[in-house]
């Protein structure tokens, strides 16, 4: 293995300009100075409440937006506007909603074949057909159904079609943006296993975005926790789940509904007061301080930066707990 990470994101910022009213324009810092790495064949989980910037991280990293600032390196190479097309094949995305992300009027073969067409990945019609059949089978679908339309498939099957499409170009990295959130639990498990098997077989790295922490801890070797556009804690999955030190992560973990009545009775939820502040109206200092029970004067001054706690565990907090 090479000595650099496959994905290296440094100080990524993605600001949007939004209208507050007819005249005033405001800056919305959807992603504010985010850095992380992902190794080849590794899964980094990205969690946090809705609106904290997870999707934007994924899109900015893939340059579906033009980042406000920061760098992304793929396999050691800086990605720029000029060379991004060259790397598109290596970096794919699977979206949450298997209903809206696929065109219902296209057949499964068309959907999976489209990226093959775009990147000219076959020489003959027969080769195209063969490749499609291979991909479809790889994700556990029946290639006899290739001529069926997207709307004729169930939610779980559509999600598989989305994965087959992403795999068509042999990517080395996939941004999985809430790929199982819309599915029933029994189907969720099928798709999670498919992702895991593909990783074992093909060595693909994932940025796995989800709000279900049980799913993320299951999938990921490391987890990053976001709050209001910033990563507040990152580390090995077991560390984040069993020994979280950021007050926000602690309450997030304590709020996971546990499918285990005894454990649920024994644990204490750390209930946060209030809601996430508007990203248009960010408090100075630590973004979490308006809901944090450990906040002091110090927290209101300068935003804490990620500090090393050892063993790859980092936290951005003036009063880390435990």
């Amino acid at each position: 293995m090479s000595n650099h990470p496959l994905i290296d994101v440094r100080n990524l910022k993605q600001y949007f300009t939004v209208k507050a009213d007819m005249i005033t324009k405001l800056q919305l810092k959807a992603v504010d100075d985010v850095s992380f790495t992902i190794n080849q064949g590794e899964t980094l989980g990205l969690v946090g409440e809705s609106g904290c910037g997870k999707t934007t991280v994924g899109r900015a990293l893939l340059r579906l937006y033009k980042p406000t600032a920061g760098e992304v390196y793929f396999d050691g190479n800086l990605i720029t506007d000029d060379n991004i097309d060259h790397y598109r094949k290596d970096m794919q995305v699977v979206f949450q909603d298997p209903y809206s992300s696929l065109n219902p009027r296209m057949t499964m073969a068309d959907i999976v074949g489209e990226p093959l067409d775009i990147h000219g990945l076959y020489k003959t019609k027969a080769e195209r057909k063969e490749k499609i059949a291979e991909l479809v089978q790889l994700v556990g679908l029946n290639s006899d159904h290739a001529r069926r339309y997207a709307h004729e498939f169930s939610g779980g099957q559509r999600q598989r079609i989305g994965i087959a499409r992403a795999l068509a170009v042999n990517p080395r990295f996939i941004v999985c943006d809430e790929p199982v959130s819309a599915l029933d639990v029994s189907i969720q498990a099928q798709i999670i296993n498919t992702f895991e098997e593909l990783q074992e077989k093909l060595g693909i790295a994932y940025l796995f975005i989800a709000h279900d922490l049980l799913v993320v801890q299951h999938m990921s070797s490391r987890i990053a926790v976001m709050y209001l556009g910033k990563i507040v804690e990152v580390g090995p999955a077991d560390e984040i789940i069993f020994h979280p030190v950021h007050p926000y992560t602690q309450s997030l973990i304590s709020a996971i509904p546990l499918p285990d009545p005894k454990a649920a009775r024994e644990r204490r939820r750390i209930i946060l007061q209030g809601d996430v502040p508007s990203p248009l109206n960010m408090p100075a200092g630590c973004p979490f301080r308006s809901r944090c029970r450990y906040a002091t004067e110090e927290c209101a001054q300068v935003c804490p930066s990620l500090e090393d706690m050892g063993a790859g565990h980092q936290v951005a907090c003036y009063h880390p707990q435990g």
Binding site: E49, S50, S154, G156, Q157, D184, V185, S186, I187, Q188, A189, Q190, I192, N193, E196, H211, L213, L214, V215, Q217, H218, A237, D238, I241, F242, S251, L252, S254, A255, I256, P257, L258, P259, D260, P261, K262, A263, A264, R269, I271, L272, G274, D275, V276
Partner: protein, 336 residues
């Protein structure tokens, strides 16, 4: 399960939708009872009939849906025989419902105060001042900060969690005996979900009402329910206390569900999914609805609907594998 009184008793309820493509048998003979002051969970995947069960109890089914058989006894009286008018006042006073989307119950063009005061006025005879005081009290009860200010605001000015609290306040304004909550936290983030679950438990303690909690989330159900019903294809697979359902599941579908979810800290174990896809309610099989996806299905599972049998005093299950197990155990006992 002693010293409790049965508030609601549902007997062999059937509900169908008479569509152009045929009769969609959404509910196929479900029975259960709800005790005063308890939290009963109904869990199942989408399409299993959770919402239709609630709508049938409340008689708010829309065309082409119809209850085709069964009884819903409230304090011994069958509310399915009530006149429309009697049912209307029953809904407003003894039983109320909250939804996943608070905007189902809230009107965007009226202020929170308008709607909440209206809900209070309908069900009680209070003076203007008393109604206002009660509205403030309700908002405080459900943990809405700055209640005076909120009364003047419109629904869109509140956050999702706050709207959910207001909807709960409206539903509780009539001091119901039963609150039905249909996926009330599904659209919320986990920290807000925790706030709402905590609130519902607290209100249940304070006000003593019974709650029917409908959700697809096994975690939510394990967290707050005393008793649980697991549904599949409009039937009850099993029902029992939370501990019985999670630690002694007796229906193959429940076992499959529990195996298919990641558990806390199970980072490296592989999940065991349930194969296949949900059953078509237009073509319900004559035997167990889960048989085509069940890897322990026997011949009888394909032909006969499983009998409900009592596993113990806290647990009932309808699965042929379980019937067989119970029978085998009894036989073993005799042989010894």
């Amino acid at each position: 399960m002693s010293e409790t009184t049965t508030l609601l008793q549902v007997n062999d309820l059937h509900t169908s939708f008479f569509t152009n493509s045929g009769e969609v048998k959404a509910i196929n003979g479900i029975s259960f009872s709800l005790d005063r002051g308890k939290i009963l969970g109904i869990v199942g995947e989408s399409g299993s009939g959770k919402s239709v069960t609630a709508y049938s109890l409340l008689r708010i089914l829309t065309d082409p849906g119809r209850v085709t058989a069964g009884q819903v006894l409230f304090n011994g009286e069958d509310i399915l025989t009530y006149s429309t008018q009697k049912m209307h006042s029953f809904r407003g006073s003894r039983i109320s419902m909250i939804f996943q989307d608070p905007m189902t119950s809230l009107n965007p063009v009226y202020t929170i105060g308008n709607q909440l005061r209206e809900a209070i006025r309908i069900h009680t005879d209070r003076t203007r001042e008393q109604v206002h005081a009660r509205a403030l009290e309700m908002l405080t009860l459900v943990g809405v900060n700055e209640p005076e200010k909120r009364l003047k605001q419109y629904p869109h000015e509140l956050s999702g969690g706050m709207r959910q609290r207001v909807m709960i306040a409206m539903a509780l304004a009539c001091e119901p005996d039963i609150l039905i909550a249909d996926e009330p936290t599904t659209a919320l983030d986990v920290t807000i979900q925790a706030q709402i679950l905590e609130l519902m438990q607290e209100l249940q303690h304070k006000l003593g009402m019974a709650i029917i909690m409908i959700t697809h989330d096994l975690g939510v159900i394990a967290d707050i329910c005393d008793e649980i019903i697991v549904m599949y294809a409009g039937r009850v697979c099993e029902r029992g206390t939370a501990d019985e359902i999670f630690y002694n599941p007796c229906h193959e579908y429940t076992k499959g569900l529990i195996r298919s979810i990641p558990t806390f800290g199970s980072t490296h174990e592989k999940l065991t999914p349930i194969a296949g896809n949900p059953v078509d309610l237009l073509k319900l099989p004559s035997g167990c609805a889960f048989a085509s996806r069940c890897d322990r299905a026997m011949k009888i599972c394909l032909s006969d609907p499983p009998e409900e049998i009592r596993v113990n005093e806290n647990h009932i299950a309808a699965c042929w594998v379980n019937v067989k197990n119970v029978y085998d155990e009894a036989k073993e006992g005799q042989d010894q």
